[in-house]
């Protein structure tokens, strides 16, 4: 029994548990915290998979920036509980059934059809982390330079959009 395997199992259990917590928690703040936990476990998965840059980005962007934004909005709007749902009585059972079916389908796909039971190509140890990072950076800034730049434009547009959306119109106060 390897410690990596034990680590994987524990991390997988934490990830699923935190996701379940997200699903069931009535309090929005708790939900956000469950998600942060989930993101953190996923970041460890990335480290296990030999992707330290992505793992750090995950922690920085998701667990840091995005979740702070979420919490900020939760605080802004008041993390109140919603009243009990009136309509759509069949929504919940149907959603559960469908999610289950999806899961079954995916599992079937995974283990029966694709036969992806093969081990990962090379162990974490054999990966030269520095080289891998360099290769990633090369690829990103050579082959994917244009998409990278477009991403910056996307972020700019999103920023302007948010400003325009949330900006109060002139005279709206009086009205």
């Amino acid at each position: 029994m390897d410690y990596t395997l034990i680590l994987f199992i524990i991390l997988a259990a934490v990830a699923v548990a935190s996701a379940a917590g997200l699903l069931v928690s009535r309090n929005t703040v708790y939900a956000a915290l469950f998600l942060v936990l989930n993101f953190a476990t996923v970041a460890v998965f990335y480290l296990l998979l030999g992707a330290p840059f992505i793992a750090l980005a995950q922690v920085t962007i998701y667990a840091g920036a995005i979740m702070v934004l979420f919490l900020f909005v939760i605080m802004l709007l008041g993390a109140d509980k919603l009243p009990k749902a009136k309509g759509l009585p069949w929504q919940r059972p149907l959603a559960i059934v469908l999610a289950a079916v999806l899961l079954v389908e995916a599992g079937f796909l995974l283990f029966q059809r694709l036969q992806l039971t093969a081990n990962l190509a090379s162990p974490e140890a054999s990966i030269n982390t520095t080289e891998a990072l360099q290769s990633l950076a090369k690829t990103l800034f050579s082959q994917y330079l244009l998409p990278f730049e477009v991403t910056s434009v996307l972020l700019l547009v999103a920023m302007i959009g948010v400003i325009v959306l949330t900006k109060k119109e002139k005279g709206e106060q009086e009205a």
Binding site: Q91, L102, E105, L109
Partner: protein, 707 residues
């Protein structure tokens, strides 16, 4: 120009009047009254000239029949009718009479209609009158010049049409100028009565064609002996029906007295001198057929004789100056028909000619008298002081219109009871009328004496019964003419108007003088012993013999005529009729006179027996057969009902609504229902949409898995 060249002129006798009527019809609106009258008269006069030339050509030539081909008309199977002109002594005689008397009457009409249209307040109708008159002359010429029974029939119908048009010339008023249908009813009566006669003519014509395979005079006459006698009898009897219609014989004479509703020149030309004699001409023309059918001859002679007497008795009881002459015409036509029926064709044609002269003279003189009375009436109305002539005229007319309900208020210029003593006011007309009356009465040596005497002499020889009928009729003729002359021209005026009556202008009196001369001298045509007309006509009518002059017959008839005139003098002149006095003959004869006066109630009889029954049948057909059966039942119920049922119940409800509409509505309803139920999917809940997306994912993945 040779005589054969002259014969080729014959179509002109038809086309000259046609040209005249066309000119007047097309350009007449811009021409003056005198020009219109002159054109019409000239057209007729030129036709007379042509007739004279034809007569000369016949006289100087052999006198045999000449057929001038003119045009092909009908060419079907066996039937081959050409429009050929037949120039022979008989047809030329008729042409001379028609165009000669016609010309004089046209000239007379220039003056007469000038005043008539003014008395009746419709000046534009002047032109129409002359158009009709020229059309009549053309049709009459077609009648007498045709070479076949069919062409004769064309003319026969044509003159019937003209008669209708001219009787109804003042179609919107009665004879006294009041608004009424009386004149047009008279025209219809004449036309319909003639139709009955024409039916007989047609039957005869069809039978003739069936047996002879031809309608040409030449073919028919040459084959006549080879045809069974019964067929000839059948044909001739049915021709007699036609004759009775056109020549106003019993039983179809009733239209002629009513035909006096037409203007007086029409009465003279059409209903005395020419058209009504077409029947006599037809019998004379068909002489070869009639001589083969003695029974038919007897019938014709009897019809003529009885008509002569019958009409003469009615004439005795009439008060209207033109009605007396109308019945006299019927009576004289009876003489002619009787003559040609007995086989005395020459005597009949002779009387036809002389009668045309003196009866035209009498009618036109009567017209002159009526005009004189009208003038007097007019004059009187003016004297009573109604301001200017024209406004008086209008007032007068208005007054007459408003008075139209009161018959006695309207002055009748033709009623002899209003006249009296007119010889002082109208001396020229008086003398002319006297000549005509004496000629008609058969006084020596006027034309009527010779022609009537020839008929009587023939009848005495051949048919004693008819002789006696005609002799009595001749006696009555002299009596009613005497009565008329005494009543109109002698004694004292019985009405203020008669005192003011005025003589007619020269345009009216001069043609009358010519006719008077003819009435005096007409007898010279066929004087006993010379027999000009007989030798003239024997070229055409085979086997005519010169009538023997019978002094006994002549003496008796002259004596009777003088006696009749004396009797009329006794009754009407010795004690002249006073104003409002009853006819002295009425006292003498009592109810018999009433019978004469009321014309034996023949009209009433016809109304009761034929017209009313006909109306009943027409009503039955209209109301029951056409209205209730054909319209209400067949059309409304059967056809419209079935159609409605089909369209409403079957097509509309069954096919359209329950089938086609159902499909269309069903489609619409289906769309509506589907959309209503689908609408619920669009519930606005974001999560439902997300669910649908997931469903799609699941389904697609499942599909990919199972593929």
């Amino acid at each position: 120009m040779g005589s054969s060249g002259l014969f080729s002129l014959v179509p002109l006798i038809v086309f000259l009047p046609v040209a005249g009527l066309l000119i007047n019809m097309i350009f007449g609106g811009r021409l003056s009254e005198k020009t219109i009258g002159a054109i019409a008269s000239a057209a007729t006069g030129l036709a007379f000239v042509i007739a004279v030339l034809l007569g000369v050509a016949l006289w100087t030539g052999s006198g045999e029949t000449v057929v001038v081909p003119f045009a092909d008309w009908i060419h079907i199977g066996d039937l081959n009718v050409a429009w050929n002109f037949r120039v022979d002594t008989l047809s030329v005689l008729m042409m001379l009479v028609v165009s000669g008397v016609g010309t004089l009457i046209h000239i007379y009409a220039i003056g007469y209609m000038h005043e008539d249209v003014r008395f009746k307040h419709d000046i534009p109708r002047y032109r129409r009158f002359f158009v009709f008159m020229n059309l009549f002359i053309a049709m009459m010429m077609i009648l007498v010049s045709g070479d076949s029974y069919l062409m004769l029939f064309v003319g026969w119908e044509g003159v019937g049409l003209c008669s209708f048009l001219l009787i109804g010339f003042w179609y919107d008023m009665d004879t006294l100028g009041r608004p009424s249908f009386a004149n047009s009813n008279a025209a219809k009566k004449a036309f319909i009565t003639n139709r009955i006669g024409d039916f007989g003519f047609l039957i005869a014509g069809f039978t003739m064609f069936w047996w002879f395979k031809s309608l040409n005079f030449g073919d028919v006459f040459s084959m006549a002996t080879t045809i069974p006698a019964g067929v000839i009898l059948f044909i001739t009897i049915f021709l007699l029906v036609g004759v009775a219609g056109k020549s106003a014989q019993i039983p179809l004479f009733v239209w002629l007295p009513d035909a006096m509703a037409g203007p007086t020149p029409v009465s003279a030309l059409i209903h005395a001198a020419t058209m009504v004699t077409a029947g006599v001409y037809l019998v004379a023309r068909s002489a070869p057929l009639y001589t083969l059918a003695p029974q038919a001859q007897t019938t014709v002679a009897l019809v003529g004789g009885i008509t002569a007497l019958f009409a003469a008795t009615i004439a005795v009881g009439q008060y209207d100056i033109k009605k007396v002459l109308a019945y006299s015409t019927i009576s004289q036509l009876g003489f002619m028909v009787a003559a040609v029926g007995m086989g005395a064709f020459v005597a009949g044609m002779f009387h036809l000619v002389t009668h045309a002269f003196f009866k035209a003279l009498l009618f036109l003189s009567a017209g002159s008298v009526i005009l004189g009375m009208e003038r007097g009436h007019h004059h009187l109305a003016h004297q009573e002081g109604h301001g200017s002539p024209e406004s008086a005229d209008r007032e007068h007319r208005q007054q007459e219109l408003s008075d139209s309900g009161h018959l006695e208020e309207v002055f009748d210029p033709g009623d002899m009871r209003n006249m009296g003593g007119l010889r002082k006011q109208m001396p020229v007309t008086f003398w002319l009328y006297l000549i005509g009356a004496l000629a008609l009465a058969g006084i020596f040596p006027l034309a009527g004496f010779w022609s009537k005497d020839e008929i009587l002499a023939d009848a005495f020889q051949k048919f004693p019964a008819v002789y006696w009928l005609l002799t009595i009729a001749a006696f009555l003729t002299a009596f009613y003419m005497g009565r008329q002359v005494w009543m109109v021209f002698f004694g004292k005026p019985r009405h203020a108007v008669a005192e003011k009556a005025e003589e007619s202008p020269k345009v009216i009196t001069v043609p009358l003088m010519v006719l008077a001369a003819l009435a005096i001298l007409g007898g010279a045509l066929n004087l006993p012993g010379i027999h000009t007309l007989t030798s003239w006509l024997e070229h055409t009518i085979a086997g005519v013999e010169a009538g023997e002059f019978n002094f006994l017959v002549a003496g008796l008839s002259t004596g009777l005529a003088l006696l009749a005139i004396f009797l009329s003098w006794l009754l009407y002149e010795r004690q002249p009729l006073a104003e409002g006095q009853k006819d002295p003959l009425k006292k003498l004869l009592g109810p018999v006179f009433t019978v004469f006066e009321r014309k034996y109630w023949v009209d009433e009889f016809y109304w009761a027996v034929f017209v009313n029954r006909y109306v009943d049948i027409a009503r039955f057909l209209a109301n029951v057969i056409d209205g209730r059966f054909w319209h209400d039942f067949v059309h409304e119920k059967v056809i419209a009902g079935t159609y409605n049922w089909l369209s409403r119940t079957v097509l509309d409800l069954g096919v359209d609504r329950h089938f086609i509409d159902a499909i269309a509505n069903g489609l619409g309803e289906l769309t509506k229902r589907i959309s209503t139920s689908l609408r619920r999917l669009q519930n606005g809940f974001v999560r439902s949409y997300a669910l649908a997306v997931l469903l799609g994912v699941v389904v697609i993945v499942g599909y990919l898995l199972l593929k």
